[in-house]
């Protein structure tokens, strides 16, 4: 398997690689910052394995692992400013965690108790979008709104704002994603279009989505495009930082293809043994994004026993909390299915809600009162 030409600052064996454009972008990352990235990645992987177990135990209906994509997600998310806004697909668990979204809130969707799960305004992370590529247009429109708010190119780093839309290699075939490129380009919108090419759209390899390397697609739209080693957290950080700076300063959109690998199944309902080889999986296991940052920290003497013990303890606490809190998530009240269909009263919804309440009450014996929620 030939490695494509891509930006890399950390080799698969954990050695620093010099790049004339991008090494300066990580010069300020000290040992503390590197351990911070390492911690994010390790905790994200812990959430992934806990959630997978919870699905196997029947506590989640479904789960989509981010396994193997931690560097692409943590590196890019760590380059964001507080005021920046993220539009994820449905596999950006590590991005959401870096932004402060509680993993329990993420799992509400997979447990079937909430279509969303968190308040987007709290962390500037939009809700997951399950229709492939639809949110790339929302992200572009949001960026057009930022332009109209006058928050591009002010020169004030605490005000200038950008948007990142995350999507996968499969999404690059969708019409909406291509329209997002068109709208972003002609509007010079402050957006970073961040594709995690994890090689597989469920069972279809990237060759089924594109005749050319995916990064080439961006150039046709007039969008500066860069391909980065998606398993190299430092390179992902550097290219995203550059793209965000371009967006915030008025330089317009950037397309990033983070070349990575979906080490797990598409979701817990998938069976990758039907369509890909063990040898391929092993090839990518040798390029594990966490291992290479661990190796770097170790080589530079920054992987202290104290840090490792603290991280292991934190992961244990997180795992325990996740198991307990997810199992405690109850189904919402039955009547809530009628809530928020509209922001203002709608006669049909109101009529059906009233009828259903009466229907349910008709099964109660005299004197019995309706208890909604638990167990339904």
């Amino acid at each position: 398997m030939n490695e494509p030409d891509l930006v890399q600052l950390l080799s698969p064996t954990g050695h620093r690689v010099d790049h004339p454009d991008y090494t300066p972008r990580i010069a300020h990352l000290d040992a503390e910052a590197l351990r911070g990235m390492h911690r994010d990645m390790v905790l994200a992987r812990r959430v992934d394995s806990e959630a997978t177990s919870l699905q196997r135990q029947g506590e989640l209906a479904l789960y989509a692992q981010a396994l193997g994509q931690e560097a692409a997600q943590v590196g890019s998310a760590r380059a964001l400013a507080t005021q920046d806004y993220v539009f994820p697909s449905y596999r950006e668990h590590a991005v959401a965690q870096v932004r402060g979204v509680d993993p329990v809130d993420i799992l509400k969707l997979f447990r079937g108790v909430d279509h969303g799960g968190w308040d987007p305004a709290e962390h500037n992370v939009h809700l997951y979008t399950l229709v492939i590529g639809s949110h790339t247009l929302h992200a572009t429109g949001y960026a057009m709104g930022i332009q109209r708010d006058g928050l591009v190119g002010t020169g004030d780093p605490s005000r200038d704002t950008a948007v990142v839309a995350y999507f996968g290699d499969g999404a690059t075939a969708q019409g909406d994603t291509n329209e997002a490129f068109v709208f972003a380009a002609v509007n010079n919108a402050p957006i970073v279009l961040f594709c995690q090419n994890n090689q597989w759209a469920i069972s279809e390899p990237t060759e089924k989505q594109s005749r050319v390397p995916i990064v080439e697609r961006g150039r046709g739209f007039g969008v500066p495009s860069v391909r980065v080693d998606g398993n190299d957290v430092l390179a992902c950080y550097a290219v995203t930082a550059e793209a965000l700076e371009r967006a915030r300063s008025g330089g317009g959109p950037t397309f990033i293809e983070a070349y990575t690998y979906r080490m797990g199944a598409h979701t817990t309902s998938d069976d990758p043994t039907r369509y890909r080889s063990a040898a391929e999986e092993e090839h990518w296991r040798q390029r594990d994004p966490i291992d290479r940052l661990t190796a770097l920290l170790e080589a530079e003497g920054e992987l202290t026993a104290e840090y490792q013990e603290a991280l292991a303890a934190e992961a244990e606490v997180l795992g325990e909390r996740l198991r307990a809190e997810v199992r405690a998530l109850e189904a919402p009240a039955t009547s809530s299915m009628f809530d928020n269909v509209y922001a203002t009263p709608h006669a049909v919804v109101d009529g059906e809600r009233a009828w259903f309440a009466e229907y349910e009450a008709s099964f109660l014996a005299d004197g019995e009162s309706a208890t909604e929620g638990a167990g339904r």
Partner: protein
């Protein structure tokens, strides 16, 4: 005549309503194909880009899904986009964004995210157009929870309803009867709307209730006029809203008249007429003197222009249904 009353076309009424909204709320913006210098293919946005600038009256790329998708993003950022879909038959590239995203964001977010987006759709036939330019797809959207679907029939309603649609915190599909764009009426430019979800009794009568919306309201009124000459008193209800459906107003009328005919340009199969008939049957069965009849398009694609007057619910076909209902 009060000084704020003007005799204007339905197209101009929408134009003035949007102008009012643009003046009153800096977050209101218009998006669409050719809506800038050209003023839209029907000139409904005439002069607005000149007065409000290209950032608020935006000529977009030719991509309907992109228009609606970016409007959703703009709404998430606090804007109130009004999208123009050039013709009814061109809304389908945006169908996914409208039904899976626009309609469901408020629900998905448990009320945290509102999408005050208006999608204007010139709809209906009778203009001698080529394929895809004469369709009536309103029920495809009314079938989707989370969307409001309305259609003004008069310049006066067009003026107030477009402003109410823009002010609504819910997404609104705004179906404009393009065949009536040039109909004129006195419009009170100080009028404020009485709510987007209420039907209007367009003509009082006692013997039969004719239910219509958009372009067929005029047809229904002509039918009532013709029937009056024969001594039949017809009540005409302009639904104004397809979602929600103002069943109460229709039922109140049918309880008095005992007879009901529903008219629309959209195909009859699974249409608004079927919904009205079902609800009337549920609510006023014992007041009905005859089955509820429907007059509308056939279960065939919209035909070539030379045949559209046979496809559309003409005055004669409406009167035929009225006669059949009264004969029971």
């Amino acid at each position: 005549m009060s000084p704020t009353t003007e005799r204007i076309t339905l197209a101009k009424a929408i134009n003035l309503g949007m102008r009012r909204a643009l003046e009153q709320d800096p977050k209101v913006m218009l998006m669409g194909e050719d809506i800038g210098k050209l003023g839209g293919v029907f000139r409904v946005t005439d002069g607005l880009q000149k007065d409000f600038g290209p950032d608020r009256v935006v000529d977009t790329p030719l991509a309907e899904s992109g228009i609606v998708g970016t409007a959703i993003g703009l709404a998430l950022r606090g804007y109130r986009p009004v999208c123009e879909i050039q013709f009814d038959g061109f809304i389908f590239p945006a169908f996914d964004q409208i039904t899976t995203q626009l309609a469901k964001m408020h629900y998905r977010s448990r009320g945290r995210l509102q999408l005050p987006v208006v999608i204007r759709v010139p709809f209906g036939g009778g203009i001698g157009a080529v394929e895809h330019h004469s369709e009536s797809p309103e029920v495809l959207f009314a079938h989707t929870a989370g969307l409001r679907v309305v259609s003004p029939a008069t310049p006066g309603d067009a003026f107030t309803m477009i402003q109410e649609a823009i002010a609504s915190p819910d997404p609104v599909l705004f179906f404009e009867p393009k065949g009536r764009y040039w109909d004129k009426a006195e419009v009170d430019l100080d009028a404020v709307g009485g709510g987007l979800d209420k039907a209007r009794v367009a003509r009082r009568g006692n013997d039969l209730t004719l239910v219509a919306h958009g372009p067929t309201v005029t047809t229904a009124l002509k039918a009532a006029e013709a029937a009056a000459a024969d001594g039949t008193s017809i009540e005409v209800i302009d639904l104004r809203s397809i979602s929600p459906l103002d069943t109460a107003t229709v039922a109140e009328s049918v309880r008095r008249t005992g007879r009901c005919v529903v008219v629309h340009e959209a195909p009859v199969l699974y249409g608004t007429g079927g919904e009205v008939a079902a609800r009337i049957t549920e609510e006023c069965f014992f007041h009905l003197e005859a089955p509820v009849l429907r007059v509308g398009g056939f279960h065939a694609p919209y035909p070539v222009a030379r045949l559209e007057h046979e496809y559309l619910p003409s005055l004669d076909r409406v009167l035929d249904a009225v006669d059949r209902t009264l004969a029971v």
